[in-house]
């Protein structure tokens, strides 16, 4: 299949030295933590190189140092600009990834419901985990779900099924494990919408004005793991339950601009580079077009033959997590092994579902997707 040999001749862009030999030759389709855009990774390397001697790289200085607060301010401003965030929404950096927000969201909001009730749309593993954590603080009602069909789709949601006094309606905008995504979000819901957007944040435009809270773990499209980005509408602050740990109270982070304690400064730094990269690509609309083209390449290849079986309902296919099985499942291990030999890494499906998953977040370049599409075709030709 010869791709590695051909790829071995690639050189760095003019003016830059070639990448270390052997390293150029692979693409990492990990579902997360996921590959960074290469220009972002290069700037991370440069930061450590620039401060090799003085021990004052961005992870080695105070979070109150103007160099870091400058990065933080830039990051917030650029996020606002790129997403068109409404002015009355705050941008927060909160410890613990999306999973910590599964507790933080009810801790902050459920006190607004006289019956401590919240609604959940249950579309997969992370939606289930959010609901379970919500049940710790009140009644977590399933408003709609797709477990009956193996989470292969986004269910119809009637906002009338959301309890009238719900503090919020929670959904997962893209489902990493099952490879589905929302195209149209619920309208006219009396409760504020809350979205876990971990696996499609910044992969497409999103009308933040329709959400009370959007949260996302960093480790797919934003940067390194351990932190969440949270946008929250101003009127939703100040209702935290008394037992809310200080660092899970969104009002504390809003008042301190995420500096109440030391934030994950490395994560914020990498996000600043990621946002600058998105701006340089032409903004979110351009990134969204590229992502649609990447996903189309793969789905077209998968649909060309009965050899592959994409698992998501065609109307709800994820653009960032392309999940499929081989019709002859006994070939899956061989498929993954041959892919690995070809430098196509991280393609095993989530352990709950098996099969194959190609995660093609912003950091995956079109040429990586082309290499995978070529491999899909060739593997089906040889083994089909």
């Amino acid at each position: 299949m010869g791709r590695r040999q051909a790829a071995g001749n690639r050189r760095g862009a003019s003016g830059t030295p070639p990448e270390p030999r052997g390293a150029r030759d692979a693409y990492n389709f990990s579902a997360g933590p996921a590959t960074l855009p290469r220009p972002v990774a290069r700037r991370v390397r440069e930061e450590f190189a620039a401060h090799a001697g003085d021990g004052a790289s961005i992870v080695e200085i105070s979070h109150k140092h103007p160099r870091f607060t400058g990065v933080l301010d830039t990051t917030v401003a650029l996020y606002r600009e790129l997403t068109g965030l409404p002015e009355d929404h705050h941008v927060l950096f909160v410890h613990g990834g999306a999973r910590m927000q599964c507790a933080a969201v009810p801790l902050n909001l459920i006190g607004r419901s006289p019956t401590r009730t919240a609604g959940y749309v249950v579309t997969g593993l992370f939606a289930q985990q959010a609901q379970r954590e919500g049940a710790r603080y009140g009644t977590a009602v399933t408003v709609a779900g797709s477990e009956g069909s193996g989470f292969d789709r986004i269910p119809e949601v009637s906002v009338r099924d959301c309890p009238a006094d719900a503090a919020f309606l929670h959904l997962t905008s893209n489902n990493t494990v099952y490879g589905t995504r929302w195209n149209d979000f619920p309208r006219d819901c009396p409760a504020p919408l809350v979205a876990d957007a971990t696996s499609d944040i910044l992969s497409r435009r999103l009308d933040h004005g329709r959400f009370g809270i959007v949260y996302a773990g960093f480790q797919k499209n934003l940067g390194p793991a351990g932190t969440a980005l949270v946008t929250v509408r101003d009127d939703l602050l100040g209702h935290a339950l008394p037992e809310t740990p200080r660092l899970l109270d969104y009002a504390v982070h809003a008042a301190s601009k995420s500096l109440d304690n030391t934030p994950n400064t490395f994560a914020v730094f990498v996000l600043s580079l990621t946002l600058e990269w998105i701006r340089d690509q032409g903004g979110l609309a351009a990134v969204e077009r590229t992502n649609l083209a990447k996903a189309r390449l793969l789905y077209e290849e998968l649909d060309r033959t009965a050899f592959y079986r994409p698992t998501a309902h065609p109307d709800h296919r994820s653009v960032t997590n392309i999940v499929f099985r081989l019709a002859d499942e006994s070939l899956t291990a061989e498929f993954l092994e041959r892919a690995r030999e070809e430098g196509l890494l991280g393609l095993a499906g989530h352990r709950l579902v098996g099969g194959v998953r190609a995660s093609v977040y912003n950091g995956m370049p079109l040429e990586g997707v082309r290499a995978l599409a070529d491999f899909l075709r060739e593997f089906a030709r040889v083994r089909g």
Copy 2:
């Protein structure tokens, strides 16, 4: 004062290329996030360089990938070995730094007290913050404190003053802002001792067997900010209050080996390098000797003249945070500016107390301390 010129001629160790020009010439005394040991910073750079092309550096792969779980296992094993951790203590990596543990500790332990009571020794800013967070979940009794003398010392503690039914007795082993540290920890306390060891973890040997829980934010002696290392005795697990967020329940982290959700993989990776560096120094006893020598160099210089006024009581001086004032405080700004010109960075005292603070964690080499000692002497000579 010419130090920069002389330093400009330094070269890298034999066989390695010289560091980038100009960068070798400074030392960063930031209180945290703090300078990494240079060999650790070098290995971070190498990691990003090695994976420049394949997009699969340690921050870009799944936390379930054998490469990361290998790093995690190594880190835990090496931490156990270097600290002599008793077998019935778990090593956990928990989101949010030490400040998040100010909530997590009472959430996990206070249910063991029938009256929801805990004791606190209040020796500075972070002790106060821990107590305030503890008061959210029960009665947080001041067992002893040194606020009356401006937190210049560690108070006498009579364990009889600790309520008999206290769930724990909390102390701060080193006080970053005021530059004091404990030398002898309370004995015969019926309640388990809990230590916030953020600013002296791994700077000296510590008998973990005397503590129920030791926790430490990463950003001083362990690695980049955003995560805490927590060691907890097995019998203290399983008592978390029902309102404990899942990711603050130490039992969840112990059962999952810190993989219940995606940990801060970068922080764990850097810690693994830090621990290997400590091992290569000869272990904790050797590192402790070096740190004592570093602190002695500075205190001797400060004590030589009335020009400087170290603020901590001589019996409780911190080895990691050397805090002092200039007798003529009108010279402080000039002192800091001249130091900065000499490449001695991050020396301003905490905003609560002003003055000067030299943080000399493990990452600060002896030559950096010598450069600061020389500067102290020369500045006193010229301006004294």
